[in-house]
Symmetry: C2
Subunit: 169 residues, 2 copies
DNA sequence: CGGCAAGTGCTATAATATATCATTCCACGA
DNA sequence: TCGTGGAATGATATATTATAGCACTTGCCG
């Protein structure tokens, strides 16, 4: 087995009431903040809460719209982007460049920056894998080009198993 | 050697007057259009010309600005986006999701959709590699997840050799 | 208390991308 | 030669995504 994560488990269930993910994310957020001497403020927590409701990716303005659900007033876009920047800095959320959207990390605190993101074009759910091989190959390639590698983004678009079954059957 | 392209050659020279690239791109454009029964119209060619001037990536509006250099009048953004969509459909240009920008393909007509893009954060030049290993691993991973893989985007940000040398020395 | 740093609110605006519909251009057949 | 149909473009408006700038608040620490 060459995967550090069983790929059979990598693509999350379609259901939004996934268990464990939110709790894991929140506790990772708290410990990462503690470690880094920052704080999980109300805004940041609100954005994290919204993203952690499902494994779908959301646009920043989608997040913004959901932020008045509880409170009466809605912040400006900058508040959302500031929170997203903070959270992605800690690896708690990721940005999908191919769609200008954001989603909650499935494995916060682990394997920072070494994930592949699998995006179902039909249902919008995003899964993550961590391929050991890719984690090895890219630095080797970089070395052979004398390229200093800072950040990697791997986005794969296609259709998840669940959607294929549903559409076909 | 596991690379189909020598990685030592993958990152393009910093100079903008690179030889061969433009010619290769243009002739690939013509043959791809011929094969697909489409045509390389003036607009499309203008966008391709602008992108092929260097290995840098450009925003759509940067391209737009350069489109009045010769002619007196400038088209609207839609013209640029239409050309970009057409050209990227043929694999002649690529979009960088991490930066919302576009660049000319270094290897038009080959290995469609199997490239890795190496982006120098300092000089903005974009190089391409085609890793055989990655070309194998991703479909295997997809298979094990029962995920139908349609499109892959691999973007690596860092600093190229030339810029590292220049800054340090 | 006073001063600093981090975070936020608020407003404006920049940057990126698409929708819609009229018009042009050109190849092709009657 | 004319008309017709499809592809591409022009033109205008607008949607979507993201950042800038600056005042204010809050909490901490001397």
């Amino acid at each position: 087995m060459v995967q550090s994560i069983d790929p059979g488990q990598a693509f999350p269930a379609r259901c939004d009431y996934h268990s464990g993910c939110r709790e894991r994310l929140l506790s990772a957020a708290e410990s990462l903040c503690r470690e880094s001497g920052t704080s999980l403020t109300a805004n940041r927590r609100a954005v994290l809460d919204i993203l952690s409701e499902s494994h779908h990716s959301l646009g920043a303005y989608d997040i913004l719209e959901r932020m008045d659900a509880g409170a009466g007033r809605r912040p400006g876009p900058a508040a959302v982007y500031r929170a997203l920047e903070f959270l992605s800095g800690l690896g708690l959320v990721h940005r999908l460049g191919s769609r200008n959207s954001w989603f909650a990390c499935s494995r916060p605190g682990e394997h920072r920056g070494r994930s592949q993101y699998w995006i179902c074009a039909n249902c919008g759910v995003v899964g993550e894998t961590e391929s050991e091989e890719i984690a090895q190959i890219l630095p080797e390639l970089a070395l052979s080009m004398a390229f200093r590698l800072d950040r990697v983004s791997i986005e794969i678009e296609g259709e998840c198993r669940g959607c294929q079954l549903q559409i076909k059957g």
